[in-house]
Symmetry: C2
């Protein structure tokens, strides 16, 4: 047997996984803006290290993240339920179940916003390329991925949060 896969599940019902306990890694006042967003961490359950997969639920009015773009990591989303709006630097796109979108490193800043009165659910995938950073064109925030795998947050003038 390789690794400790005896302890890993063969498969899981994604919606039955407990939500992540920490609502957001952002510092305040940004973390509060993530109210109504709930993430179920799926890829880690199986011991995946190269990329993460979450099942993410946006209550009415919630958003996926601040408008942002990664410097080295790619992202992908696939809509399972609801009708969130994809907002990027170049415009808005109405999404619905069965639609998907991808956000290459260094591409357009983007996020999803649920402007409807029903829940939106989607899969989000992001790789874990080292040395990543994120910039937030609408907010006084920049992020760098530390060697410990944790995000460090800074004001745009370089002061840490």
């Amino acid at each position: 047997m390789r690794r400790d896969e005896e302890k890993l599940p063969a498969a899981v019902e994604a919606a039955a996984v407990a939500p992540r306990s920490r609502p957001s890694a952002y510092p305040e006042p940004f973390a509060a803006r993530m109210a109504g967003r709930e993430k179920r961490v799926l890829g880690d359950l199986f011991g995946l290290g190269n990329f993460g997969v979450n099942l993410t639920r946006l209550a009415p009015g919630a958003q996926s993240a601040l408008m942002h773009r990664h410097s080295r990591q790619d992202e992908f989303i696939y809509i399972l339920e609801g009708a969130p709006t994809l907002v990027t630097e170049s415009g808005e796109t109405a999404l619905s179940p069965g639609m998907c979108a991808g956000f290459p490193a260094g591409g357009l800043a983007h996020h999803l916003v649920n402007r409807t009165d029903t829940v939106a659910v989607y899969l989000e995938i992001g790789d874990r390329t080292a040395g990543d950073g994120a910039d937030y064109p609408e907010d006084d925030l920049e992020a760098r991925l530390g060697l410990d795998g944790r995000w460090q947050f800074f004001h745009k003038d370089g002061r840490p949060y």
Copy 2:
């Protein structure tokens, strides 16, 4: 603007994407065993380079791949339709919509088999870590990912196909 994202779609309906024209990268007689498998390549549409995402459809009797495991790349699947069976070196698991599974590099060899009389549809995600290889415990086959990003296939005694 970064890269050439003016040409990239903001979002697509996954099922409306044209299927990949090449049914399988395997040499014969293995490629013929992939009959009934159809892949729609999604991640590449958005310029993603670090990982691939496909919408894959298995007709009744079809399978996802030969039983295999990767040496460096992780894989993840999420079932959208149907009830394929996950077959790994340690046993079988019945899958259904909303279930997911992950396959870490160096973990259990695995594949999906559609033993039902209805179509199965799932998302499959795999990263593109360089230097990957795949081994196939049930077949006289080994694969190495070339520097050009193409798979090279060998007999277990090292002779190329």
